[in-house]
């Protein structure tokens, strides 16, 4: 217990919180961007009204399927070590965000697509026969219903995203887990307290989000 108190001295806690802040930053930016891209990709993949959109849908489908079947860790390595070789400059923060967005957009695109699929096709047909264009029907009729249904799945995806930021320790992103490692590296006695604290910090933020997701999914069902 004394150990825990020492480990959580103000300087250490401050250092941990700095890392926590980076975790939050990366998470929030990645959540926003991957939601936008995921939405676009999901709709593009779903839409097959004429030849052009069918081709686009196929291409998007291939890209999404490849990305979401690769380990995130590989995509992180790729964006940190690979992009520079192709002449694109990135630092650890940018590389982490790029990797998270690329991977999570693909995951979210799948959520979006199955969300749209779950809406009765009659809705689209009805809206179209009332004179709406495809885009109008999508935006005003289908998407609102689809989005409500996919909220729980989206939130769980965001929870994974937050947890997965910890993988970026491998490219020395100064996030929560990495800062914890630095601290117990300078004093091994702090190893258990650090892992406990880090686990609690992740748990709080993720638990709140996933409980919210559960609550919503129950409400939406009935």
């Amino acid at each position: 217990m004394q150990n825990l108190a020492n480990a959580l001295s103000w300087t250490n806690l401050h250092f941990l919180l700095q890392g926590f802040w980076v975790t939050i930053e990366v998470s929030v930016i990645s959540i926003i961007l991957s939601f936008i891209f995921g939405l676009i990709l999901g709709v593009l993949r779903y839409t097959r009204v004429d030849e052009t959109t069918t081709v686009i849908s196929r291409v998007v489908g291939v890209i999404v399927d490849i990305l979401r079947n690769l380990p995130l860790l590989l995509i992180i390595f790729f964006s940190y070590f690979g992009l520079p070789v192709m002449g694109i400059r990135v630092d650890a923060f940018q590389a982490s965000v790029i990797a998270m967005v690329v991977f999570e957009s693909a995951m979210i695109a799948e959520v979006v697509r199955s969300g749209i699929n779950s809406v009765d096709p009659g809705q689209m047909e009805g809206a179209r026969s009332n004179g709406m264009t495809y885009v109008q029907a999508m935006v005003h009729v289908v998407m609102p219903q689809a989005l409500t249904r996919m909220i729980p799945a989206l939130l769980s995806q965001f929870v994974s995203l937050i947890k997965d930021t910890s993988l970026a320790t491998i490219i020395v992103l100064p996030e929560l887990l990495y800062h914890a490692e630095i601290i117990y590296n300078q004093n091994t006695n702090y190893m258990i307290p650090m892992y406990l604290t880090v686990a609690v910090m992740y748990f709080i933020i993720c638990f709140v989000l996933s409980t919210f997701a559960n609550y919503l999914s129950k409400r939406i069902k009935y």
């Binding site: 250490n12 250092f15 990135v90 630092d91 020395v172 490692e181 601290i183 300078q186 091994t188």
Partner: protein, 282 residues
């Protein structure tokens, strides 16, 4: 069943597409030759030198949790060289590198130079240019004080595990001198130390200066067996950046001549047990 076959066909087609696409991309990937003055000109223009340094290595480059500042021999040397190269009012910027990330980061143009316990080796010379050496390190072994391993010979047995850091030269040294040992590699020195402390290996092999710093922090670890290979450290710049390389070499010569280099070595290593400043200096 027809449907299932279609799905597998699609999967196979996808894989094929990916293989051929990336093979093409890999072939077409030749880096453009860059202007040999670019880094130097940028340094002089912006009056800033961005160094790739260690954040996790006591004595060389360590981000202290207590002060939240970087401290170490290489940090001080970087500051000294910056002023010598770009003038008294020049700024020094630091970016963290690990053994594995230092060369990619340099190619990436995020860094002007790497000053991070980097041993000059022929293989590395293929991808970066090195300055004259600034520190003479040697690969050594760190073990628990309770360990029976006393030298590299003790490691040359089946079942012995040696911990190394990915991207360091220690792997080659161990492969040569203790070929029977199994090697486990980690991404940074912190992970290596933790693995050793957790008993995930019998010894941790890397440069003695780095190990001395770790041993100073952990009372239950110590260096054994002397040095098993000489490892001269050099400052690395992107291949072909000759103007920057010349500037660094000139600056190194200046600080060695005026005694400020010697002062730095003594400041950081003078009081370390079993460490000879004379042997480390160039």
């Amino acid at each position: 069943m027809k449907n299932a076959r279609r799905f597998f066909k699609r999967a196979a087609a996808l894989l094929l597409l990916l293989v051929s696409g990336t093979a093409l991309a890999a072939c077409g990937n030749t880096s453009a030759s860059s202007n040999p003055d670019r880094v130097y000109d940028h340094v002089i223009q912006s009056k800033t030198v961005t160094w790739g340094v260690k954040y996790d290595t006591t004595l060389f480059g360590l981000k202290s949790v207590k002060t939240n500042k970087l401290e170490g021999f290489e940090i001080d040397l970087a500051r000294l060289l910056t002023k010598t190269i770009a003038g008294k009012d020049a700024k020094t910027k630091f970016i963290e590198v690990t053994p594995q990330t230092k060369i990619p980061q340099l190619k990436n143009n995020n860094l002007d130079a790497v000053l991070a316990c980097m041993t000059i080796t022929p293989e590395r010379r293929k991808s970066v240019d090195f300055s004259t050496p600034y520190f003479k390190a040697g690969t050594s072994l760190l073990t628990k004080t309770t360990s029976s391993v006393k030298s590299v010979k003790d490691l040359n047995k089946k079942g012995k595990v040696v911990i190394i850091c990915k991207g360091t030269t220690a792997a080659d040294d161990i492969a040569k001198q203790a070929p029977k040992a199994k090697i486990r590699a980690y991404n940074d020195y912190g992970s290596c130390t933790n693995a050793l402390l957790a008993g995930q290996g019998d010894a941790f092999a890397t440069d003695n200066g780095i190990l001395a710093g770790i041993a100073a922090q952990h009372k239950n670890l110590h260096l054994v067996g002397g040095t098993i290979a000489v490892e001269p450290y050099g400052i690395a710049v992107e291949k072909g950046q000759t103007k920057m390389l010349n500037a660094i070499n000139k600056a190194l010569k200046t600080v060695k001549a005026d005694g400020s280099y010697d002062k730095l070595v003594r400041k950081w290593f003078g009081s370390i047990n079993g460490f000879s400043v004379k042997e480390a200096e160039y």
